[in-house]
């Protein structure tokens, strides 16, 4: 009798409530799953901040929590970019730190004293739960089918494309920015649909929050105007569009200017000009519409078109003119590299050197999105079929984001939401068609009759031989096909879940501060060289000892070792980075004055040859050379580091420039003492090293970590007796050798 007792819950008013409750429970479960699948790294390793950039965010958050908001705002950091320092408060996006600061204080208020580190580690997973919710909301605006939203939420929750930036511990700007992106889009759709200034104002508020959180806000700044512009061009101008867009632009621009780092950019830089242009256009269109209402006249149609064209031409011309004359800042380098993928490689090696700025390899799409990537076009096609204002938005978003994701690996993140939405639309319509147990009502056939007349006529005109065109099928009758399709879809979905879990656990859950390897017996072995070395620095060096390393490790040294660094991952000063690159790639005699001039006390290199850790400095070395060459083309030449056959070698065939460079010497110093003579092996490059290791004169080895991943060298002071370092070392090493040389010389003299 169970069906009877369930019956009243599924029909009528109670039924709606039951379904609402169910939906809520499902959403909560999805959010739970989204959070849970991001916790691999916490469970496997520990609650630790990952990678590079998050360490800076973590350090800034600690500063904010300790010193309060105002001193955070005015923070001048003299412990980075030595000797320049950095106006940190004015050059960061404060949204992330302020968010976790607020959470920290709220929890304190509730007598839940949670460590700030745990808040930072778990912020990204928490936000991913919210993102799932936001994608449910935005998808529900697109379609009437209730399952689409839930599917979108589920996809968004576990897609590797999004997980890649939001596992626990990856405390980066993207952690909250993607939630804000999706939610801002939802509010925008809502405000275009209703034409309500309130939704428009909310869009502006969340847009402002987004601006304070991530530099990727420019995507919204250009997407919303483009949506409005396309709608106008399609002849779909409506007062609703005017209300929502104007409200968003007026409030949103002011909101974005509140962030010191953005400042006057919204009215100065070209990236923001499209929003301004469309705003002006919309005012004109609204004005013309207003007049047309007063004066109903056919001519105004043509007048309107002419006006739009003229104004567009004038504004683009004006924009170009202003850009040329320098009133508006020209497009920034990162932006150019979006249009011309080769641009960065030629002009700005520092941008090209970052791995996440590389163009996407095509398997990455499948790796990150799996079955969604082939459902995506179907979903976009379905949007074309309905093509209401909100569907136009999805189509534009899809086109733009696909392009950008192809250009830069990192922008896969902006593609993921629209892929989830479109795929959910496609899949839900399949499920809605095939999962209905009852056969289609005969009425549908009756319905189809009048509608079918035209199709019939067409079909007759085209060809009579195809059965399907003669009698249009309106629904699925056979249980077999229903069961088959449902089963296949279910299998695909299960595979998707398996794939997502596998990718998350294998590819995206490594903190990259702590490395894991497997012992022969299958047990896990943790390689903790980074923290070992950073802790050594913290314990054994004076508080203001300056550490020089390649910029990748700047934030980690600042965060974990708490020592001043020369350059870090905030790559704002290319020359300073090039200086470090030059010091690394030159001979000791050239490097030593540079080190002295910059007060360097210790030099840190990452060396993976013993362990086979491929992300080490020798592999990054060519970028140092290239960046240094960009500033000093006469002193550092990339060609000199390649052998005559154009190979990058570190063994006997290595060029003298390579073997004399500071980086090479620091990496392989004393390395062959680990092996029997002449057997020294580099496990990353897979080659045998020269029998005789390099000799260091101006630096001395201070620390080498357990697996030799981190090597720290102390810069020697000037010699007490005033000799140069080479002769001092030679003297220390072989008093005897020099004497014998002298003696030999004397003997020669005597024989003559």
């Amino acid at each position: 009798m169970a069906p009877v007792s369930i019956e009243p819950f599924l029909k009528g008013d109670t039924g709606r409530n039951t379904r609402g409750l169910l939906r809520l429970i499902i959403l909560c479960t999805i959010a739970g799953a989204a959070v849970a699948s991001r916790l691999f790294s916490v469970i496997r390793f520990e609650s630790i901040i990952h990678e590079f950039d998050p360490w800076f965010n973590f350090r800034a958050t600690k500063y904010l929590v300790q010193n309060g908001f105002y001193s955070f705002w005015d923070w001048f950091d003299d412990r980075t970019w030595h000797p320049l320092g950095r106006v940190t408060g004015g050059t960061l996006y404060p949204g992330l730190m302020v968010t976790s600061g607020v959470i920290y204080h709220v929890l304190r208020l509730l007598a839940l004293p949670v460590d700030i580190r745990n808040i930072c580690v778990l912020l990204a997973p928490a936000c991913s739960g919210l993102t799932a919710l936001a994608s449910y909301l935005i998808t529900s605006e697109m379609t009437t089918s209730p399952s689409a939203g839930l599917l979108a939420a589920a996809f968004m929750g576990i897609t590797p494309g999004y997980i890649s930036r939001s596992v626990a511990g990856s405390y980066d700007n993207e952690a909250i920015a993607i939630f804000l992106l999706v939610f801002t889009f939802y509010l925008w759709i809502k405000s275009v649909k209703n034409g309500s200034a309130m939704w428009g104002a909310l869009t502006a508020l969340f847009y402002g929050y987004m601006v304070s959180a991530w530099g990727g806000y420019v995507f919204i700044t250009n997407l919303l105007p483009l949506h409005a512009f396309v709608l106008i061009c399609m002849g779909r101008y409506s007062p609703r569009l005017y209300v929502s867009y104007s409200t968003w632009f007026a409030l949103g621009t002011l909101a974005s200017m509140q962030v010191p780092f953005v400042g006057f950019l919204p009215i100065r830089s070209s990236e923001h000009m499209s929003a301004l242009g469309v705003f002006g256009l919309l005012q004109l269109v609204a004005f013309v519409e207003f007049i047309r209402q007063q004066v109903p006249n056919k001519q105004f149609q043509t007048l309107l078109r002419a006006l739009i064209l003229v104004v567009f031409a004038v504004s683009v011309g004006g924009l170009v003119l202003l850009t040329i004359s320098g009133v508006i800042a020209p497009w920034s380098g990162r932006f150019y590299s979006l249009w011309d993928t080769g641009y960065a490689k030629i002009h700005i090696p520092i941008i090209a050197s970052v791995s996440e700025h590389q163009p996407t390899a095509w398997p990455a799409f499948f790796f990150d999105l799996n079955l969604l990537i082939w459902l995506f076009p179907a979903g976009v096609y379905m949007c074309f079929q309905q093509l209401k204002d909100e569907h136009v938005f999805v189509v534009i978003y899809a086109v733009l984001a696909s392009y950008f994701a192809g250009v830069m690996v990192r922008l896969m993140l902006t593609l993921t939401p629209v892929v989830c939405i479109a795929a959910a639309l496609a899949l839900s319509s399949i499920l809605d068609t095939y999962l209905v147990a009852a056969a289609p009502e005969p009425s549908s056939e009756v319905n189809g009759q009048p509608a079918g007349d035209s199709t019939k006529a067409v079909a007759l005109a085209v060809q009579d031989s195809l059965r399907s065109t003669r009698r249009p099928v309106l629904g699925i009758y056979s249980y077999l096909s229903k069961a088959l399709v449902s089963a296949v879809i279910t299998i695909y979905l299960l595979l998707f879940v398996l794939h997502c879990t596998w990718v998350t656990s294998n590819a995206y859950s490594s903190p990259s501060v702590v490395l894991a390897s497997r012992m022969p017996d299958g047990s896990q072995h943790i390689i903790d060289d980074y923290r070992e070395a950073y802790y050594w620095l913290r314990q054994n060096t004076p508080n203001n000892a300056k550490i020089m390393s390649w910029w990748d490790y700047g934030y980690q040294i600042g965060g974990m070792a708490d020592r001043p660094t020369l350059v870090d991952n905030n790559t704002w000063n290319n020359t300073h980075i090039a200086t470090v690159g030059k010091a690394m790639s030159s001979r000791e005699e050239v490097s030593y004055p540079i080190l002295r001039q910059h007060d360097v006390d210790y030099v840190l290199v990452v060396f993976g040859a013993l362990l086979g850790y491929s992300g080490d400095d020798i592999n990054k070395f060519l970028w140092m050379v290239r960046i240094a060459e960009g500033i000093w083309p006469d002193e550092v030449q990339e060609r000199e580091f390649f052998t005559a056959r154009g190979e990058y070698k570190i063994d006997d065939e290595a060029t003298p420039t390579m073997r004399n460079s500071l980086m090479y010497k620091m990496s392989y110093y004393n390395y062959n003492s680990l092996f029997p003579p002449g057997q020294a092996q580099d496990r990353v490059r897979g080659s045998r090293l020269p029998a005789e290791g390099p000799q260091l004169n101006t630096l001395e080895e201070a620390f080498t970590s357990e697996n030799w991943i981190i090597r720290i060298y102390k810069v020697k002071d000037l010699d007490n007796v005033g000799r140069d370092h080479a002769s001092a070392v030679a003297f220390d090493k072989g008093n005897k050798k020099r004497k014998t040389a002298k003696r030999r010389g004397a003997r020669v003299l005597r024989t003559e």
């Binding site: 200034a197 508020l205 209300v243 409200t247 007026a250 409030l251 004066v295 109903p296």
Partner: protein, 162 residues
């Protein structure tokens, strides 16, 4: 639709007819009649008439506006005109006298533009002709939205003014 078919020669006549007529009869006809002839005239007539035509259009527009618009909406329009004026003065000052405290100029100018836009939104939402576009928004709701938007706007402006 009859007036549309009339030849150009009858323009003046119909124009003179329409004015007394519109004062007496329903507003709907008055909204249409003054303009119809002008369309036909611009369509058929040659150059010399264009200036007078434009004048007629503007004239009809203005008269129509005065007649059609409710008192409250006129109040809103006055406010918008005031904002345009203030914005224009600020802009002129920035061009002539320099925009030295750029923050101050921006927030002042932004406040006028933003307020103008918000008021225009309010006006559009309250326009009975747009009723079917804004089914979910009553006049009270529109006003509440307007207040909310203005509050946010002026908060940002004051925060930005330095």
């Amino acid at each position: 639709m009859a007036p549309k078919r009339q030849p150009a020669s009858s323009t003046l006549q119909s124009q003179s007819q329409s004015q007394p007529q519109s004062t007496a009869t329903s507003s709907l006809t008055s909204a249409f009649t003054p303009t119809k002839p002008s369309s036909s005239s611009t369509a058929y007539s040659s150059r010399p008439n264009a200036v007078t035509d434009a004048q007629q259009i503007l004239d009809g527009l203005w008269r129509n506006y005065l007649k059609e618009t409710p008192q409250r909406v006129k109040l809103i329009d006055t406010f918008m005109a005031f904002l345009v004026l203030v914005g224009g003065i600020q802009f002129l000052y920035a061009v002539v006298g320099g925009n030295y405290p750029f923050n101050a100029f921006l927030s002042g100018f932004g406040a006028t533009v933003g307020q103008f836009v918000l008021t225009a939104s309010l006006r559009i939402q309250c326009n009975p002709q747009n009723r079917k576009e804004f089914e979910s928004i009553s006049h009270e709701r529109a006003f509440a939205d307007f207040v909310l938007g203005s509050l946010i706007l002026h908060f940002f402006c004051v925060n930005f003014v330095n």
